[in-house]
């Protein structure tokens, strides 16, 4: 502290923001968890929670503004927007969940392997990762949908392939940091099998990064999948889905803007909540790791 403070510029000596931010953080993170819990409940129970059937068309009250019966109004076919927003949580939640989980598994294995082995295996994996990393995911999804046909789960599968490099790179970096540590050397000297060192010695130390990263992957793939739905290249047209609602209700901006804005707000809120949870988890887990 004393050695470094001599070099610190005067205006940085006092950091009033730091304490303020910590105070601010707890309600924000609390809110993020509440949002994610809400989305999870909506994703599991879906239409059961909705006040009305999200698919029922009331052609007499097309594009109605919000009212007591329809809290967010109705869309161009007279369907209840509020119910559709609730039902839309399902496709927004489970696809990204599968992507995050699969990419967590594969990315951690590949990253640990590349970081631990080094050499040719590492540089081959990293070349591949660098290449995949420069690909615009959504464009690939559009091309796949255009060639093979639109399918939600196909898009999820393709996104897993495109996301694994992201996890791999992060885990590999974290593993490389662990490699020169004495405990790795000690385990090697004791003759612990390589896979055991990787999984039971090194991995627990890189896991904070892995877990935090998975939250970012979830948020990222939520946004990408919603983009694909927005382009109309994922789910069939009638499905309640936030991205799809946004594009189908865009023409309603003049009459019932909430029908477009509500699903957009849901996408952004869920993505922000997940990103914030990721940051928070990282801080929590690394500060605990430092004590260990």
């Amino acid at each position: 502290m004393t050695a470094s403070s001599a070099l610190v510029l005067p205006e940085e000596l006092a950091q009033p923001g730091r304490r303020a931010r910590r105070r601010l953080r707890s309600p924000v993170i609390w809110l993020s968890f509440v949002i994610m819990a809400g989305v999870l409940v909506m994703a599991i129970f879906g239409a059961l929670l909705a006040p009305q059937n999200p698919a029922t068309q009331h052609l007499a009250i097309v594009t109605a503004p919000p009212s007591g019966a329809h809290w967010l109004g109705t869309d161009a076919l007279g369907r209840d927007v509020f119910s559709r927003v609730i039902a839309g949580a399902r496709t927004a939640f489970f696809g990204p969940l599968v992507i995050a989980a699969a990419s967590f598994l594969l990315g951690n294995l590949l990253g640990l392997f590349a970081g631990y082995r080094g050499g040719l295996a590492d540089s081959l994996i990293m070349r591949w990762v660098d290449f995949m990393w420069s690909l615009p995911a959504l464009v690939i999804l559009v091309v796949v949908a255009g060639t093979v046909g639109s399918s939600y789960w196909l898009a999820v599968a393709v996104l897993i392939v495109l996301t694994v490099p992201f996890d791999t790179r992060v885990i590999r970096g974290a593993t490389l940091e662990q490699m020169p540590r004495p405990y790795v050397e000690a385990a090697k000297t004791l003759g612990v099998p390589r896979w055991k060192i990787m999984l039971f010695h090194v991995w627990p130390n890189v896991s904070p990064v892995a877990v935090a990263n998975t939250c970012l992957v979830f948020a990222g793939s939520l946004v990408t999948l919603a983009g694909l739905e927005f382009l109309g290249l994922g789910l069939p047209p009638g499905t309640p889905d936030w991205g799809l609602m946004l594009s189908q209700n865009e023409a309603l901006l003049f009459t019932n803007p909430l029908a477009t804005i509500a699903p957009g707000v849901m996408i952004v809120l869920t993505a922000i909540a997940m990103n914030l949870i990721g940051d928070w988890l990282y801080e929590q887990l690394t500060s605990r790791g430092a004590v260990r």
Binding site: E12, Q15, R21, A137, V143, V148, I261, N275
Partner: protein, 321 residues
């Protein structure tokens, strides 16, 4: 020595680039065969299935030749920027692309400029006021920007600035430079939301890292003016990470162009790609994909070269390893 090392580096990267382009073109060509269903039916689209049309199609796509020869013939045409004819419009793919390219380029460059100006400006402001209200505001906005996809931003901007307050038009591309600028401001802003957030985050981190460097403290101690320290000593180093993430910025812009053009109904390359995908217009799809791929691959090479030119430390590292 550095000059030669640089040349070797560029030559090596050019070889990698050539290999990549061949691989990408091969995958792009194979799209025809990956697509399920009868290839002739796909290529015919809505045209009648008669002996004459089938014969013409077989000749045009060399369907009676072996697969690799077909690829070779296709690639030779693609190098001359000929990708066949659109199934939907029966115009040549090249003319479809060139008709829409200017709009997409305009939009892309516009939002690239916005990204750099706002991204670096806000990043520097945020780093200099580390911890204060401005910094916290910017950090919060960055989180919002990173989580807001371009199409949500597009709809939000459309609603606020074209419908509630009518500062900007809700649709159309305009004619003449300034009119076009006015029409494309909302799309460019929507496109820049994510990239600005990204650049701010990296500039801020890099600036904070440089602020603590001894040479900056020493420059201040020598009594150099604030602006000289900022522009000559800090900014040059802080800009290096921005070059490193240029690949991500580019691919984010390409993804954004697709979404924003669809959201604002702009007739550009992005909406062409989506129309081609929706209608299974494979020749158009191939043309646009190949164009995007070439742009990405070449831009990544350029970024690497610029990186080496700007940062001498990289060159030294390259030589010693």
């Amino acid at each position: 020595m550095t000059g030669r090392g640089m040349l070797v580096f560029i030559l090596r990267r050019l070889v990698v680039l050539a290999v990549l382009l061949v691989a990408i073109s091969f995958v792009t060509f194979s799209l025809l065969y990956i697509s399920p269903g009868n290839l002739i039916d796909i290529l015919l689209g809505a045209r009648p299935h008669t002996a004459a049309t089938v014969r013409a199609l077989t000749r045009e796509y060399h369907l009676n030749k072996p697969f690799l020869e077909q690829y070779w013939l296709w690639a030779r045409q693609a190098v001359q920027l000929r990708f066949g004819t659109s199934i939907q419009t029966s115009l040549s793919v090249t003319s479809e692309i060139t008709a829409r390219l200017p709009l997409t380029l305009f939009l892309g460059i516009y939002s690239f400029i916005l990204t750099m100006v706002f991204g670096i400006g806000l990043g520097v402001a945020s780093a200099l006021g580390r911890g204060n209200v401005v910094d916290r505001g910017i950090t919060g906005a960055v989180m919002l920007g990173l989580s807001t996809p371009a199409f949500v931003a597009a709809v939000a901007l459309l609603y606020v600035f074209a419908i509630r307050v009518r500062w900007f038009p809700a649709y159309g591309v305009g004619s003449g430079f300034f009119n076009e600028l006015w029409h494309l401001t909302l799309p460019a802003l929507a496109l820049a939301v994510t990239t600005v957030a990204y650049v701010v985050r990296h500039t801020r981190a890099a600036m904070i890292g440089t602020l603590d460097q001894d040479y900056v403290v020493f420059a201040r101690a020598r009594g150099l003016s604030r602006s000289r320290v900022l522009f000559v000593y800090l900014l040059r180093n802080a800009l290096i990470p921005v070059i490193t993430i240029s690949g991500v910025i580019l691919s984010s812009l390409i993804v954004g162009v697709v979404l924003v053009e669809v959201a604002f109904s702009l007739p550009g390359l992005g909406s062409l790609l989506v129309t081609a995908a929706t209608s299974k217009d494979l020749p158009v799809l191939q043309g646009v994909v190949l164009l995007f791929a070439v742009v990405i691959v070449v831009a990544n090479l350029l970024a690497d070269v610029i990186y080496m030119v700007v940062d001498p430390r990289i060159r030294v590292g390259e030589r010693s390893s």
